[in-house]
Amino acid sequence: MIDVRNLSKSYRVHKRAPGIVAALRSVLKRRYETVKAVEDLSFQIAEGERVGFLGPNGAGKTTTLKVLAGLLHPTSGEVRVGTYVPYTRDPRFLKLITLVMGQKQQLLWDLPPSDTYAMNRAIYDVPRAQADETVRTLTELLEIGDLISKPTRQLSLGERMKCELVAALLHRPRVLFLDEPTIGLDVSMQAKMRDFIRDYNERWGAAVLLTSHYMDDVVALCPRVVVIDRGRLIYDGDLRELVRRVRPDKHVTIRLSKPVDRADLARLGTIVSADAAQAVIAVPAAQASAVVRDALATLPIVDLTIEEPPLEEVMRELFQTRGREPGAQEHVASADKRANA
């Protein structure tokens, strides 16, 4: 469905030193610099797949999404979505996709969202009955029935995001590019949004490419992740495999009935956190069972859980490691590209 081969995108950026002298000098002579936002990126996404697209700020994620949505022309490389080349912006391609960007909007600012829905219905040529049914279903699910008659400018960020999603899905696109879709939403609505995206994906077989700085979104929705940093691909594969390779340890959380010596905890593994009632110990995955047996035998434990390290820690470890070795082509070898859902 989505085929990206050797995609590169560079920007020519005007650079100027601070100060009035530099500002005046730039009137006559400007210094430009080429910034490589994306470099030699390749990946493929099949119909119906849900893929997380991760990377630190400035990695090139949004640039890649914009190229895929046809907003930007690639500097080099090939990109196809379905049978279309995105930057030609064939109307059939534009009906196939949707791009939801958390920080930007398509809702008409001075009018209620219902007016935007009417406009989108006409522009996308959606049959009225289908459009009405889609709006009704989505507004019920997202609990925005009474909001769509208020001018957009009077809605909160979270309310606007929900209304944006309805506008973006009115034409039932088969490819969803979601750039931080849960930004600004409360915790319960984030969960509802994830459930909704999963349901939409399963019901319509839509391919989903999602970026988010909320790792809960990625864990809940994306069996497979594509990770980029400084415009280059550093991982493409199963999410759990990525966690295993970067942080091959487990977090054992123990709740204690009474305080214990710190040395007793340190004996089990690396202490992540500890207080009188609870401790979190990081242990190598292969030793987790033995450590748990030892802890149960020697410590006053009332409850115990074993978890993967949080994905936030994994990503931080991944990018910090790359930062400590500038120029190194550190690359987490690509694992199986198919999701084990």
Binding site: L72, L94, M119, A122
Partner: protein
Amino acid sequence: MATDLARAVKAFPTLMRVGVAEVVAYRAEFLVWILTTNMPLVMLALWHAVAAEGPVGRFDQAQFTAYFVGVLVVRLATGNWMAWQMSMEIRDGTLSAKLLRPIHPIYSYAADHLSAVPMRIAAASPIVVGLIATSWARLLRHDPRLGLIFAASLAGAWLLMFFSMVLLGALAFYVDSAMGVFELWMGVYGIFSGYLIPLEVLPGWVAKPASVLPFRFLLAYPVETLVGLLSPGQALRQLGVQWLYVAVIGVLALRVWRAGVRRYAAFGG
């Protein structure tokens, strides 16, 4: 492009309805904005005073009144803010929302501006009716064929202004601020379109180039047709020149737009 046009035509009624709703969303701002289109009334007062001493060429007081009523009507019908709107959307990235829709952004802009025309004319109609009452004889005495040619020239003026604004707005793809170029264009427009001074009142060395530049066909030509300053033969010949300008500037504007979209950086978000 043909299927694109067919799709746009089908969506146009809805786009126009939404456009009208946007125009009247802020009632006070809408009225204030209408009232700022008052330069023709200022120039009318000025030239009316000048003509009190005696006619200026073919222009006596009644003729000046008829002329600037025509300027007001044509300006309200054809004026648009597209260059400013496009420049802003290109700079802040909000053009992306239009580019993601399966309809050319030009059609969206056209619907936005067409939808404002009836409201603008309706809001200004009391002034227009009052002024017409003072010069109705001058407005109604001429050949009725000129009425038909005026209608065609008004459509041509709207399209010529529209494509001119597309061209100016699309400069924002290339330069950091296209608004400087637009301000310069407005200055030239003020003189060479007949907005401030009827072109035949200008000195010969200015009037001659003014008679062939495209600015004339944005305003002075339809106004002169309306108030009977042209014969039907003259008006018809100049209609051909106007629509030739529409075609040339239209093609140029679309080419500049198309090349500009390739450079669009979609900043923001």
